[in-house]
Symmetry: D2
C-alpha cells in the first residue's frame, strides 16, 4: 500500500459496529452493562461492553429504548450527597485530591458512560443517533431532560468548531454524500439528481458543509450559495432550470439561499453562524470581486404573526406586502424582546442586518402560505458582524438598511399604529 | 481544484494562529480577555478574543505564564455557593432548568474558557502546549493542580480513543513527521536519519502512531515493532546495523520494542494500551502467520529496588541476573500492592503477562545501569487480555509464564527469603 | 497547503484548454498552424501553436473538421522519396546519423504533429475526441484511413496497459464519474440513479474501470460484477430490483455481466482482456472463497446467423434453444475460421472457454431479438487462460465444457447435419 | 476501504516486478523470449514473457547485458527489403492495408518489443534503467546507437510533457523521495538532511519536480528556487546556513539556483525548459509580488574556453573577471555558431536572456576552477520567452541586458580584439 493510501485509509477510517448477533440483550441487561461500563477499571473490557451496549441498543424497539433511557437516567444519576460532601472537603482544604473528588461527584455518571461508549471506533455517530431517538421519544419528561442535557453538554465539547472540517460539496463529491444532501435539504426541496446537479455543477453555484472527522460520511450542516450580479429578487430566479450559468469571476454578490441542519441528534448545537462566516471569508479570498454577502431567507413567522395579531394582509398589492414584511421584521417581538421571526433571530444574532425585503420572492405554496411570498436578505458585512453581534446581544435592537426602515414606516400597520 | 484535493485540503486543513503582532498584551489584560471570553454571549466576538488570548499567551515568558495561570485559576474558579444553591433547587424540583443551572454551576468556568479557546482552528495543539507549560511551571501548587485537572478532564474527552487515528509511519512518511519520531523516541535513541531508516524501511520493521485530526502534524504516541522468528534475546540484536531484513511473511512474532509518548501536555491521558492492542490486531489481520505478540521492555526499576531493598546483585553471572529480575518482576511491590516496576504496571494493567526475562539484553549504559542489562518480554495474547486485565485489576496478582516463575523461584533472594 | 493536497492536486491536475475566444480561426489557417507546429524548432512557441490548434478545432463544424483532416493528411504525408534515400544511406553505412534520418523520414509527420499537440496539458483527451470525429466523419476514405492509423499507432503506445490505472467504481465515487457510467453502459442500460445504486452499493456488487492519468475524469472501459453463489441463470435475476444483497464473503462466483467501452476515439485499442483478468485476480486476492470467474454474456450473432443459414428456430422449447445456441457457439464460423459470434471471439481470444449456455436468460426485447433470450457464460480459469489463449490463437478451436458440448451435439441442427 | 483510499491506492499503484526466482535465464534465452514476445499474437502470454524478460535482465551482469543488447539489436532489426516492398505497394495503391503494412515494416521490431515489455505494470522504470545501462555500456557502437534511438523515440512519446505531473517538493514530502533529491542534486551538493531542510522548509525556499505517473517514486528533474528581494550576488549567500528566512510574500524575485536531471536513462529527453516556465508561471500566480524570474547559473565552460583560446585571466581583479565572463557569454561560440557555454545554450534556447554577471559568486573549489568564481543570471521574462526563443533559434544571437553588454565591451579581450 502506498503512503497516500496508508494515510488516507486511516484519516477517515471506516468504523463499523458489528452487531453482536450471537446474543439478544434485553433492556434490563443493557442498563446493567452500562453500569458495568461506568464502573469498570480498565479500557480493555470496556470496549467489549461498549460494543455490546451499542449493538444491543440498535436492536431495541422504541418502547425498549425509552425504558433504557429512563433506567440509565436513574441508575447513573447525580448523587447530591456526594456533591455536598466533596464540596465541603474541597472548601475545607483545596488540594488536588479534594478537587478531583468534587469534579467526579459533580458530574453525573451518565456523562462518563457516554464518554466510555465513545471510545469505540464509530460510536460518535451512534451516540448522535441515540440523542435523536431521545429527543423524539422523550418529549417533555423532566427526568429525560437531564439525560438530554448531559448528551448536549458532551456534544458541545466534541463538536466544538475547532474540531469541524469545512468541505466543498460539488458535482465531483461522492454519491453517498450527495444523496444525503438531497435528503437533508430542508428549505427548498431538491427533486432529483438533475436538480441537484443544477445546484452544484454550474460555475456560479457553490455548496459547503461541516463534517466531523469521526463521522466522515455525514454532513452536519450545509449551505447553498449562488454567485450573482446584484441581489436576486426571488428564489425561483436563483433556482430557475435552464438558466445560463455565469463565470464565477463575474459575480459581485454571494447569496446564501439555503441552510440545512442534517442531524436531529445535534439539535441546539449551533454551527450555522460559523459556517456562514467561514464560507463568506473563503469565497472572499478566492473571488476578490465578491463584495456583498447576503442571504435570501424565508420569513416563516410572518403569516402566523399577522393572524395572531389580527392584522389584515392585502394580498393584492405587493408593495403593501413588502411594507408589511419590513414592519414585521423590525417590530414584531417575541416574549423577552427578541424578534418574533426565528430566522431573523438567527441571522441578527450572528451579527447580520436586515438589508432588503422582496415581494413575490418565493411563490411556492409554502412561501405563499408562510409569508405571502415575501423573502428577506440579511447582509453579512464581515467587517461589522462582530460589532453588530455585540450590539444586538446587548440591546436586541434590529439593525436594518434605510430602505427596509422606510418600507416598515410606510406599512399600513405602522401608519395605523401611529394614528 | 479536484475532488481529492478539495477533500484533503480540508481534512487536514492547516490551522494557523496568527500572532497579533500589532499589540503586546500584558498578562493582566490576558486574564481580562479570558473573563470576557467566558462571559461573552456569542461566538463571533469570541473567536477574536480567543485569537488574542492564544497569540498573547505565546509571547509571555515563564513568569508571566505562571501569573496568567494563577489569575485565571482564581478568577474563573468554582463558586461553591452557586453549586449549593443550584443543587438545592434541583433537589426540590428536578426540571430541565434546575438541572441546567446545576450543571453550569458545578463546572468551574475555566473549563468553559478552554472550550471556547478551542473553537479557534488550530487551538487544540496550543492548549496541549499550554498544559505542558503548566505541568512544567506549576509544580505541586494546589491551586494550579485544579487548573491542571480541568484541562485533563477536557483532554480525556477530546482525545477519546474514538477520535484518534492510527497511521503507519514508514520511510514514505513526510519528513516533518519523521523528524518528530527522531526527537520523541524515548526508549532507544535514534541517532540519525540512517538509523531511522533502519527502523522504518525494512520489510520486517513497522511503526505506528496515533494522531488527532486537529493536530495532524503531531504524533501523540508511537510504537516500533520488529517482525521476527522467535523472540529476540536482546534489543541490540533487533537494532543491529547491517543486519539482513527478512520478508515480513516469514515472521511468526511481532516484538514491540519501543513505545514513546510525544506530548508532555497529554500526560496522564493514556493511549498506549489502545495502541498496542490495535496494532497487534491489525498486524494479525495482515500477516496471518504472526502468532506471538510480545514486548521487549526495559526493567527501569530493578537496580533502584535492589539498592533500596539492600539486596546484592551478582554482576558476574547472567543466570543470576535473570533470576533476580524475574523475582523482582513477580514479587517487588509498590505501596498499595501494585508491581514496583512502572513498565510492569503498565503492561500487566493492559492485560499482558510476564512471558520471558532476558539477561544481557540491553547492554547500553542506560540498560546496564537501570537493570544490569536485563530486559523482559510481556506477552499480549489477544484472546486473553480482557480476562487478564480484569484479574489483575481485581487481584493485583502478576501473571507469569512457568519459565519466569521458575527463574523467580530460583533467585538467590527468593531462596534466602524462603530460608 | 498540505502534503496530501499538494500531491493530489497535481496527480490529477485539471487541465483546461482555454478556447482562444479572441480570434476565430478558419480551417485553412489551422492547417498552416499545424505545419508551423511540426516545423517549429522549440517547445515554447509550440505550446502556443498547440493551444491555438486545439482551441480552433473545437470551434469547427463537421465539414470544416473533415476539411482539416484532409489537409493535414496531405500536407504532413509521408515522403516516399525521403524514405528511400535515407534507407539507402543507412544501408550503405549504418551509423547513428543515418539511422536517425531514416527513422525521421519513415514516420509521417502527422505523428509528430499529434505528439506535439499532446505536450499541452489536457490535450490527450482532446486528441481522443478528435479521433472519434475522424472515425465518425471519415468513413471508408483511404487517405483518412492513414490519418486514423497514425492516431491509432500513437494511442496504442500512450494507452499501453502499463500506463493505465484500475479504479473501483462504487457508490462513494464522484458523481461526475458515475453519470458517465450511466451514459456509457452499453449492454444492460442503467435507467436512473436508483438503478445505478443497485449495481454499485450492495456488498455483492462490484464495478471497476480503467483510467488514464491524463484523462482522470473519463473512464476508458468498465466492467460490472455480481458476486453470487453459483452461476445465475439469467441477467434479470442479477439485476432484479428489490433482491436482498448477500455478504461478499459468502460468494463463490464472480459474474462479469457487463463490459462497456467508453471512448469512441479509442476504438481498436483493446483493454477488455486486461481488465477482466486483473479484476479477477484482484477479487481472488480479496475474497479467497471466490473460485469461479465467469461472464454472463449476450450471444449477439445468433439470430442473425440462424437467418443467414436458413436454420429454423423453435421458440417454444427452451431446451432446443439452449442446444441451438451451444451448437452455434461451437460450430458457427466467420470467414477465416474464427467464431461467427463477436463476443465469443473476444472471450475465447482472451483464453476463456464456453462454460454454460442459458435459455431464457435475457428476456428483454433486445435479448429475445438477438438470441432468442439465450445467454452464455465464458469461464476465466486464471490458471489456464494463457494456455487456452495460445491454443485458440494457433488452432482456432473453440474450447467448451462437456455440458455445452453435449448440448451442441443434441441440437437439431447438429442432428440434421449428421444425417 | 474508503473512497479516498480506493482512488489513491490505484492512482499510484505500486508495481513490482517479481523476480522469477524459480529459474535462471541465460542471455540467449532472453533474446529468444524477446523474439517470442514480439511475435506472440496475444496479450496474455505476452505479460508472462515480459515478466520473464525483465526479471531475467535484472540478473544479468554487464557483459551479459551488452550481449543481450547486441542480440536484440540484430534479431529485431529493420528489414530494408520489407520497407521497400511495402512502400512500393503503398505508392501503387494507397489503402488502409498498404499503409498499415508500410508502418509495420518501417518501424524496427525493437520498438514493438519495448512497447510490449511496457505493458507490464512497473515496466516503465525498468526500461528507463535499461537505457541507462545501454548508454553506459554501449559507448560509440553504431549498432547499439540504433537501439538507443529506438528507446529515445519511445521515451520522447511516453514522457511527453502532457503526461508529466509537477509536484512541489518540501519538508512534508515523503522521505524516500527526499533521499533521492539529496542523491540527485548535481549542481550544489546537499550534505545532509539538515542541509536539505534548509533548502526546503523555509518560507522563502521552494522546490519542484516533474514525475511520471508510472514512476511515482522517481523524480525526473527538479529545480530549487530561492525567493529573494533583488538578485543575490552569490550562491553562497543563497545557501548560507543560519540565515534568517523571509516571508514569501515579501519577495520580488524568484531565483532558480539549481536544476538537476535525475534519470540517466532519460538523457536527451528534455524537461528543463517546461519545468522552469511552469514553475515560474505557478509562482507568479501564487505570489503576485514576484516580478523577476532569474537563474543563478554556473558558467561551466569559461576556464576551458580561456585556456583553449590562450586568453589570460586576471584572478586579482573581480571587475576584470566579470568583464571577461560577460565577453565569453556573449561572444564565445561553439562550432555551428551556438554559444560555447552549454548552460548558456540551454537557457538562451529556452528564450531567456543574459541578465547579469556576478564575480565571486561561487567561491567553492568547483566554482573557482570552472569559472574563476563567476556566475550568471539568465532572465525569464514570461511575456517575451516565446519571441526570444524564436529569435535565438533563427539568428543564434545572444540577447543580453545593457549592463552585461557593457561589461563585455569593457573586457580586456574585447578591447584587445578591437585594437
Amino acid at each position: 500500500m502506498t503512503l497516500l493510501a496508508d494515510l488516507l485509509s486511516t484519516v477517515f477510517e471506516r468504523r463499523y459496529l458489528r452487531p453482536s448477533s450471537r446474543r439478544r440483550l434485553d433492556d434490563r441487561s443493557l442498563d446493567d452493562l452500562a453500569n458495568d461500563l461506568v464502573g469498570s477499571a480498565g479500557e480493555t473490557s470496556g470496549l467489549k461492553l461498549a460494543e455490546d451496549i451499542l449493538a444491543g441498543y440498535e436492536e431495541l424497539d422504541d418502547d425498549a429504548k425509552l425504558a433504557f433511557f429512563k433506567k440509565i437516567t436513574r441508575s447513573l444519576d447525580l448523587n447530591p450527597g456526594a456533591v455536598r460532601s466533596t464540596l465541603d472537603a474541597y472548601e475545607s482544604q483545596a488540594t488536588k485530591a479534594t478537587y478531583r473528588n468534587f469534579l467526579a461527584a459533580a458530574e453525573p455518571r451518565r456523562q462518563e458512560l457516554f464518554r466510555r461508549l465513545n471510545r469505540l471506533p464509530g460510536a460518535t455517530g451512534a451516540l448522535v443517533r441515540m440523542r435523536a431517538d431521545l429527543l423524539r421519544l422523550g418529549g417533555r419528561d423532566n427526568e429525560l431532560a437531564a439525560l438530554d442535557l448531559d448528551l448536549r453538554h458532551l456534544f458541545a465539547s466534541w463538536f466544538n468548531r475547532g474540531f469541524l472540517v469545512l468541505r466543498p460539496i460539488n458535482w465531483e463529491s461522492p454519491a453517498h454524500i450527495l444523496e444525503k444532501i438531497i435528503a437533508y435539504e430542508a428549505v427548498h426541496a431538491i427533486d432529483s439528481w438533475d436538480d441537484l446537479k443544477q445546484r452544484l455543477a454550474p460555475d456560479d453555484r457553490r455548496c459547503f458543509a461541516f463534517f466531523h472527522p469521526s463521522m466522515p460520511d455525514e454532513p452536519l450542516i450545509f449551505v447553498e450559495v449562488a454567485l450573482t450580479r446584484g441581489i436576486p429578487g426571488s428564489v425561483q430566479a436563483v433556482l430557475e432550470s435552464g438558466r445560463e450559468a455565469m463565470p464565477a469571476e463575474d459575480a459581485d454578490t454571494a447569496v446564501f439561499y439555503s441552510i440545512s441542519n442534517c442531524q436531529a441528534g445535534l439539535a441546539s448545537i449551533s454551527f450555522g453562524n460559523s459556517l456562514i462566516k467561514q464560507v463568506a471569508a473563503d469565497l472572499a479570498a478566492q473571488l476578490p470581486d465578491l463584495k456583498t454577502f447576503v442571504t435570501l431567507s424565508p420569513i416563516p413567522g410572518l403569516t402566523k404573526w399577522l393572524t395572531q395579531e389580527s392584522h389584515e394582509w392585502d394580498h393584492a398589492a405587493s408593495d403593501d406586502m413588502r411594507n408589511t414584511a419590513a414592519h414585521y421584521l423590525l417590530n414584531a417581538k417575541a416574549k423577552g424582546g427578541l424578534p418574533f421571526d426565528p430566522v431573523a433571530r438567527f441571522h441578527l444574532g450572528n451579527g447580520a442586518m436586515v438589508h432588503a425585503v422582496h415581494a413575490n420572492a418565493d411563490v411556492s405554496d409554502k412561501g405563499c402560505q408562510q409569508s405571502g411570498g415575501t423573502m428577506v436578505s440579511y447582509l453579512y458585512d464581515l467587517e461589522k458582524v462582530a460589532q453588530n453581534h455585540e450590539n444586538f446581544a446587548t440591546t436586541q435592537k434590529v439593525l436594518a438598511s434605510a430602505a427596509v426602515q422606510a418600507h416598515a414606516d410606510a406599512s399600513a400597520i405602522a401608519v395605523a399604529q401611529e394614528r
